[in-house]
Symmetry: D2
Subunit: 278 residues, 4 copies
């Protein structure tokens, strides 16, 4: 008995659910859960099924691909721990939240390493027996610094996701393209409000009554990648921007961990710079 | 071209999605949306599809019933305005919210009448050209009062839902059984906290930091029917119970209207004293 | 026995609470509530007290002004219904929410009139026995249209607040300056995200997971005035922009009514393009 | 220059703010923040001021006590790290959240030790160089087990708070009385709903659409102590009770840490089985 997550996205047309469910039925598979969505504006169909039964992954994928149009994207995934790299700078809260979840066995992931441009977090990370790699940017131009990180990353095969847990440097297109739809960031504002540096200061200056955090995939435009999860908290006039920053940390860590969990469970489709999440 | 909402609940078994979607496919129907849920604990399958195409309602229902086990509950519904009766006592906010939505054309409903045990709301309701019927309980025992209401209701055929918009009297089993799963109530607490009278006073006395409202179908046990929707707001020590009551009104009206909308769109299954909502 | 709301803002210095509370004490006034805030960044002090006792308004104000620095802003207000004008365009929800609250006696306000650039809402408003004035913009340039509205407004003396309940036209500086800090708007986004036209479409295109509404005083920069209240709701990929618009209405009306209530209760200080709210 | 937190609660009467602020003014103290609340129902006055200036703690307390009625409760506190003991059982999330905050320097506290009735968390706690003490309850009656814990606690002087971070055993009156208003618990439901064991199972069985967590001081009645903080999240029919439990952890840890922060900053008054929080 094997369990598979089947993810399909394709141009919408009549009969897709019928065709896919017929493959499951003929192979005597059990549908544990099933979600569909049709984006009518773009005429796109999305489907995520979890099935179990007695079939090989390749056979299942082959049968589905024969049943539906040939230009469909089909993924058949056997649930297992994914490999992640965490990048951080100096802040402990978002990183710490992931490390504690990992330690508690809550996370469907192996943390291969934590990479930082400072060594402040080294002793903290090592408590958890996870490799900590400092790659300082001091004295290096952005391209050179990134080359060193990319080189380091190249040493790991099968990186499923890179999690930016308050990594405070901008990634270049070269980096982003190397890990397309695999880099998950937490931005400390309710995007698209307050793009860029020090969003809490921006929020304070604007006098907002709510602050938030946004987890998104990183693309080439700063803070403009597909949004995975967002959350907010209420603030009032008594919050200086440092109070917002302090309170915001609780939102940041929860949102990043939530987005990571969705990714690890293969629940996210990326399309048209947005996400469809089942 | 007709559009139908298809609602199915039945014991779970392999192939149900396949069988139903095959009926849709063979009849060249378009699936506009589709949701499924399997309650593994109770081995129950729920499915709601919206389809359009060229088929008669009876034929569609017949084909589905032939395709799946005979003990399945199958509803095929053509979207149209449902008939509702609103019952209220003296408060205007929840009732007013529904009347304004109705006036704005937001509500998939005809409001047949508003019935109250007082006449306080009469002039308000009549502004909206909706019949207002006062059935006073003064001097009557509960059974006699209810008989008068039931008699009044019997004058309307095809009542789809009775909405209790802060109707402050308890209904007897006779009434509830006559309109099973058709009576939608708003209770002014976050159920199951603070069942019964004056929940805001109870909440105040307990010193809670959050208050809420709950919309539910009415069954024979006071405030214990299947929950449709809940919402909360934060309060603090500065709220007396009347402040809670005042602030709570905003939650009550939003939650009741949300629950009503779900009912009018045929999105609710009732099962095991709970709701499955698509 | 009279009750007063005392609002003071001034440069911060030691002893302000002492000095003001001494005035209250000497006059044998009872402090029903008292709130203070010091904006350390701008060295500004804000205080709002509700007191009752046997003293004339002018005498109380005079004594306070003699006790604290002469450049302080001091308001002593006797609670009474404020006069408001509502401006709307075609949408009923935010306007309707205010009208129902007014009808229920919840609002510390007299609604002098509803002004609209269309007559769509006329029959609705007239149900509530409130004057409805259509001032069409068709065929008029912005300045001329506004002149007609300003002329109409000039016919009312003592307008405390102008409430823009989804009035869908931009006001010019001339208008805004005539009613500085008196115009309360509801913007249908979580500002400063999605300034300008059709924020729900913008939100949909960006793929946000939360939408919101913002009530603010209107200043000369579009959607950039001091924020009074904000609220949000969660959305997902299944929301088209019209679904967002529909769901957003519930947030818009709640936020606008909340902001209006704060204004009517004299709870808002405007300072540095922000609000301090007690 | 010293900074003090001044907390006063007493029967309400005219002039209290005047009298206390006069003490501050005469001693040339700066009021950094000030909050008051009058519970009119119980005629109780609460005040929390943060002041700085050149005065000794004892002198300040003496002057305040001479200025206001003799039965007032007056606390003058110099901000410093408080001593806390954490008690846990087997779950890592709430404990881990506190440990990471402590490690990040966010917490105004020294963690003296973590005490558990199991040793599951030992290696985790020791990573943080915090003493871990296992006091097993196996084979012991409740009184004997508690005596061992109380004995252990007696070895620490100046315990300010005992934090129950999912300590899954009920404390007896003897224990509770020994640390009155010093024991902070997190209950995994939105109290007063779902008192007692397995609240997520209870919530699932009731079919609620919102689950929550409540942090409260522990008194002699199970789950009935004064509430400090509450938070909720939305759930739907797809959540089994274990899903609720999993999702609930994120709320539990945030609420417990929030309550602890309020306690460490001396922001909580306990009165009439409720809290006043500034």
């Amino acid at each position: 008995m094997s369990q598979y997550r089947v993810l399909i996205d394709t141009d919408d047309e009549k009969g897709l659910v019928h065709k896919v469910s017929t493959v499951f039925y003929k192979n005597d598979l059990n549908m544990l859960s099933n979600s569909e969505f049709v984006d009518k504006e773009n005429n796109k169909f999305f489907m995520r099924s979890v099935v179990d039964g007695d079939i090989e992954l390749k056979k299942l994928k082959k049968e589905i691909s024969e049943a539906i149009p040939s230009n469909a994207n089909i993924e058949v995934i056997e649930p297992k721990k994914k490999n992640i790299i965490i990048m951080a700078t100096k802040e402990m809260h978002a990183l710490g939240d992931i490390l504690v979840r990992h330690e508690a066995g809550e996370l469907e992931a192996n943390i291969l390493a934590v990479i930082s441009n400072y060594d402040d977090l080294e002793s903290f990370v090592k408590k958890f027996d996870i490799p900590f790699i400092t790659i300082s940017h001091v004295g290096l131009d952005r391209a050179t610094h990134e080359s060193k990180i990319l080189e380091c990353l190249a040493g790991y095969k099968d990186i499923d996701y890179i999690v930016l847990a308050k990594y405070m440097r901008i990634l270049t297109p070269r980096f982003v393209e190397a890990y397309e739809d695999k880099i998950i960031n937490i931005h400390h504002s309710f995007l698209p409000a307050f793009i860029g540096a020090n969003p809490y200061k921006q929020a304070y200056d604007r006098g907002v009554k709510i602050i938030g955090a946004t987890s998104h995939f990183v693309n080439n435009n700063l803070d403009e990648g597909p949004i995975i999860a967002q959350e907010v908290i209420h603030v009032d006039h008594a919050y200086g921007w440092k109070d917002m920053q302090r309170s915001g940390k609780d939102v940041e860590k929860v949102v990043l961990s939530r987005a990571l969990k969705l990714a690890l469970e293969d629940r996210i489709f990326v399309y048209a710079n947005k996400t469809v999440i089942f």
